[in-house]
Symmetry: C2
Subunit: 230 residues, 2 copies
């Protein structure tokens, strides 16, 4: 489903300093697969997810989604991909402060035609209850706790039933019980809809929910061999 | 050092709905004590910290800091307490986007006289290195990873050597190794400077660093008896 080939990304500071964040990254993500991405703080996990989510550009290398190239595409093309095929759970939530919880969550549906919007809403009525936010729908983000904001961000990523969910530390502000519930909801997505999930996390206990894990270290991606390490 | 008596806090929605977040809370925090505050997402941890940090008002009840009453004080009085005696690590970091990392961290020192500012800066030169942010001092918050922003927020809370540190989920965006380092830095504060720390967290493994823990559930605070539970 997703294929990244020799992806490089650096940040430049002035004329002298270059920080190579991603160094010749190769990654494959298959339909219905749940992959965890771990690595130290500052190792490049968010940067990598942003490239796949089409909200940033690599310096070189190729990205293919369903065989179609994402690199070197127009902003309009990438915008379409972002809206229709990818659900992004941001590390800092990125909720719109002037919209209610419900409006925030249903925002991805505004760009779709009426018929599919109705179908997806029916499929997702359960989602608000599963995430424990059914009583918060008319509130604004500033009226929510950190974890409630995070759950709102998760609902928004799931509502359009995307092909790929990019989850950037989706449980960092949640207690143990809620974290387990979120993980089961995500796992159900892969089983029920063949959604692919790439999840950056610092919580190593969540690796149990993933099919496999990748480690990002010094700009390079390696497979985490859980069978050997345990 | 800190004494909260019969503290109540509710949020009102329209004329009909009242959510009682904190219900007759009594809390004591002694000099040099490291107390953990745990509870489900939405249980009121941030609300409680905001009351102690003088950035919110309770509906009723009393708060005493070093014997002086904080409830029913003027905004000017509370502002002084906030600046000089309390260091706050916010759940969402609250970094100023238009200031560099170094400017953000040293902001609490601007309101102090020149002599004590110099003394504290010498004491804190070590802090940047301990937190691994010494190479990031000239960057802006948007140029940092989530965990780097969190570490910047931690440095800012420590730099003025406050009497009380309120830490709202200070390690939610950090990997295991960095989390351990932060915990040791916080523990050193209590031992070296008799700083008191109240830390809200979802990571139960961090309770090992605390002297004792409190559980917030259904608006009420109870002691967590770790000796009995283990
Ligand atoms: N806009 C930017 N300009 C310059 N450097 C940046 C920018 N964004 C990120 N960086 C740097 O790129 C590196 C990787 O950042 P990234 O946010 O991808 O890390 P991360 O693995 O998500 O970390 P964390 O676990 O702390 O969230 C960091 O060193 C960061 O400081
Ligand atoms: N400004 C506000 N107006 C209305 N309700 C609010 C407001 N701020 C917080 N709340 C509600 O108060 C309750 C407690 O919120 P609080 O942020 O203190 O929880 P928390 O324990 O810090 O949660 P988390 O672990 O998710 O950060 C939540 O139900 C939240 O929705
Ligand atoms: Mg990140
Ligand atoms: Mg909170």
């Amino acid at each position: 489903l997703l294929h990244m080939q020799a992806i490089n990304k650096s940040y430049l500071f002035g004329k002298t300093e270059e920080i190579k964040v991603l160094d010749t990254i190769n990654l494959e993500l298959h339909r219905g697969e749940f992959v965890a991405l771990v690595g130290p703080s500052g190792s490049g996990k968010t940067t990598l997810l942003n490239l796949i989510g089409c909200i940033d550009h690599s310096d070189s290398g190729e990205i293919y989604l369903d065989g179609k190239a994402l690199h070197n595409q127009s902003e309009q093309f990438l915008k379409n991909i972002r809206r229709n095929r990818i659900g992004f759970i941001f590390q800092n939530f990125n909720l719109i402060q002037t919209l209610t919880v419900q409006e925030n969550i249903e925002l991805p549906l505004w760009s779709m035609n009426k018929k599919s919007e109705q179908e997806k809403l029916l499929l997702r009525k359960q989602l608000y209850t599963d995430l424990g936010i059914q009583d918060l729908l008319n509130r604004f983000p500033y009226q929510l706790s950190g974890g409630q904001q995070q759950r709102t961000a998760i609902a928004r990523a799931l509502i359009s039933n995307p092909d790929i969910i990019l989850a950037d530390e989706p449980t960092g502000n949640l207690d143990y019980k809620t974290t387990q519930e979120i993980m089961h909801i995500l796992k159900k997505e892969t089983e029920k809809f063949q959604t692919s999930i790439l999840m950056a996390t610092h919580d190593l206990s969540l690796l149990n929910f993933a099919d496999r894990a990748l480690i990002l270290r010094d700009g390079q991606l390696v497979n985490y061999d859980s069978q050997n390490s345990q």
